[in-house]
């Protein structure tokens, strides 16, 4: 059974211009002990998806339809108190900007002890556990550093502390929201390696959000490509990266500076912009920017099967199969 199952999830924001349909019919699942990556450019609904999973949404957001199941249990039907019991225990999070993740006026130790408030342990035991977690993520002299404040740590260290906090309760699911975006490249590699090791040690699943294709390829088992609030392609990292089926995934891979072999003055981009999510275009959501656009694109494509574990929402897949 998968740790996280999202089925046909639609989320809208109420805005003065009308309903902004941020997520439409999103389905994905995170199997046990697997790392699933979500890629997509800014505004594709990654953050909305996360906030829906932990149910900490903006006041003007509404879940219009769908279901989110954690280990088979529906999250969307839980009361606020039941949901709070899951946060930090079953689902935990690592956020994008490590400089903003921790309370600046409380010591790291105090914050790490506070999040264990559910456990009936003595303060010294909680402290010991916190120090153990810091050691696990590679912070030297953890016992002393518990007394320090976040501003006394570097960005990379703060992100490791965030990971330590997130894994402390041995959650079933860790959601990492672009955890390396704010860090420099060498730190990024370190954090990714550490995350992989810890995932194996703790035995949790990870939902890893990033717009960095290289990181996803390095870390994840499976990948979900999102565009403008829809899942356009999903499958194993190998399938999606080596044999992209959706024109958007292909365009995204072409834009990755790591893939460019020829010397160029201008980095490639995908022409056009994300469509207006208040007044959605008819048909395929990517049609406006697609170079393979044809008559069939006037109708919204369903998820088509490329192979049993590789799916994409494009009319061309069916065509290719019949051809």
């Amino acid at each position: 059974m998968a740790v996280l199952d999202i089925l046909d999830l639609s989320v809208s924001y109420t805005t003065p211009r009308g309903d902004l349909k941020a997520l439409r019919g999103v389905s994905l699942s995170v199997p046990q002990r697997r790392i699933v990556g979500i890629v997509g450019e800014s505004g594709c609904g990654k953050s909305t998806l996360i906030s829906a999973i932990i149910r900490l949404m903006a006041p003007n957001a509404q879940i219009r339809s769908g279901s989110i199941r954690l280990k088979g249990a529906e999250i969307l039907e839980l009361s606020e108190a039941q949901m709070r019991a899951l946060r930090g225990a079953e689902i935990s999070m690592v956020f994008q900007d490590p400089m903003q993740t921790h309370n600046p006026v409380l010591t790291v130790g105090r914050q790490m002890i506070d999040i264990q408030y559910r456990d009936k342990l003595s303060k010294t035991e909680k402290r010991k556990r916190a120090a153990g977690m810091l050691a696990l993520v590679g912070i030297p002299d953890p016992e002393a550093r518990l007394n320090q404040y976040p501003f006394e740590f570097s960005g990379g260290m703060r992100q490791r502390i965030a990971i330590a906090m997130a894994l402390m309760a041995k959650p079933a699911l860790l959601i990492a929201d672009e955890p390396t975006t704010a860090l420099d490249a060498t730190l990024e590699v370190q954090i990714i390696k550490r995350l992989r090791e810890l995932q194996e040690e703790v035995g949790c699943s990870i939902l890893f959000i990033s717009h960095h294709l290289g990181v996803i390829a390095e870390l994840c088992d499976e990948v979900v490509v999102m565009y403008a609030g829809e899942v356009v392609e999903s499958g194993s990292v190998r399938d999606v990266f080596h044999n992209p089926a959706h024109p958007y995934t292909r365009a995204l891979l072409d834009c990755d500076p790591g893939h460019i072999k020829v010397r160029t003055r201008n980095l490639p981009t995908i022409p056009g912009n994300i469509p207006d999510l208040v007044h959605l275009p008819q048909g395929c959501i990517f049609a406006g920017r697609c170079d393979k656009r044809h008559d069939a694109c006037a109708a919204r494509p369903d998820m088509a099967t490329v192979n049993p574990s590789h799916h994409a929402a494009c009319h061309l897949i069916a065509v290719r199969e019949t051809a």
Partner: protein
């Protein structure tokens, strides 16, 4: 932490010295001299010279300032021209009344203001928030002496719930507190609104920060998130404002003391200015300055205790 406190106190000493010098010069620029006031129009030149000599007014200004500082450090602020009692003793007799009034006023205002501010921020745009907002702005707009006059008329004269004048019987704490109610209402009322607005704004800002999202994402109870995590930060600007606001509190106390005929620094200053009693004016203004400098210094130190980044000078 200790070095921060020492540095801050050093700065306070410098500020006090500058303020006292400025005060000294300002008082000497006020028209009318104490000698004529004391001796009257029929004084002989010999009598005038003798008194000027006794008060040290015949020496150069710079020497007078130096002497004043020297004496001040020994706690000697000169003699009251009329009663011939030491000024320090006179002023120190009044300081507790004013200080007590100010502290009681700002304390109740801070407690209520912080509570209202938190409520407004947490229940943003609710009916309660809007109501608090309107009330806050209205009480901010009302000067302390107006509240003093009306509360005196309504609660002391008409309803007779509270005494109208004086500071209460010496040694009888209950009576003294009873006498404090209306004056501290007058001084504190606008601060309630002010602090509520301030706390609401900084609370809303802090509640939108990333670390609050983290605290919530770890399932911390909302009460702990608001009061343990957010308020610790949101209170910082309020502490500073109260520290600096001591100046306004002192001037509000002057009006209020006059309205309620309470003893205190305010009444002392007014009385001694009208009689050109320089040493007493100087002494009481000096103590007001000290109260102001001490309160801003304290506010800085409290902020440094609350925020480790200030301690580290970051």
């Amino acid at each position: 932490m200790l070095s921060f406190i020492i540095k801050r106190i050093g700065l306070a000493a410098v500020i006090t010295a500058l303020a006292v010098t400025a005060l000294f010069l300002i008082i000497h620029m006020i028209p009318g001299d104490p000698v004529s006031t004391m001796l009257g129009p029929r004084a002989t030149p010999e009598m005038r010279t003798a008194l000027e000599e006794r008060m040290g007014l015949d020496r150069p200004l710079i020497v007078q300032i130096a002497l004043f500082f020297g004496n001040m450090l020994r706690g000697d602020l000169g003699m009251d021209v009329f009663s011939n009692r030491p000024v320090t003793q006179i002023v120190l007799g009044q300081v507790p009344y004013t200080l007590g009034l100010i502290l009681v006023s700002i304390s109740w205002a801070a407690v209520l203001g912080v509570a209202l501010g938190c409520y407004s921020a947490v229940n943003r745009n609710s009916l309660g928030d809007r109501l608090t907002g309107v009330l806050s702005v209205s009480v901010i707009a009302v000067p302390a002496f107006v509240v003093a006059l009306y509360s005196l008329l309504v609660f002391a004269v008409k309803l007779q719930w509270f005494p109208a004048i004086g500071a209460g019987e010496a040694g009888n704490l209950g009576d003294q507190l009873h006498h404090l109610v209306l004056p501290s209402l007058a001084i504190g009322l606008s601060w309630v609104g002010y602090i509520a607005r301030l706390v609401r704004a900084s609370m809303l800002e802090v509640l939108g920060e990333g670390h609050i999202r983290t605290a919530r994402a770890f399932g911390l109870p909302e009460g702990r998130v608001v009061f343990g995590y957010a308020l610790r930060l949101a209170i910082l600007p309020t502490v500073t404002v109260i520290g600096v606001g001591m100046g306004f509190l002192l001037s509000a106390a002057v009006f209020t003391e006059i309205v309620f005929s309470r003893p205190g620094l305010g009444k002392l200053v007014i009385d001694s200015i009208t009689t050109r009693n320089y040493p007493v004016v100087m002494g009481s203004v000096l103590f007001s300055t000290l109260i102001f400098v001490v309160s801003t210094t304290l506010a800085d130190i409290i902020n440094a205790i609350l925020d480790p980044r200030i301690r580290a000078g970051k």
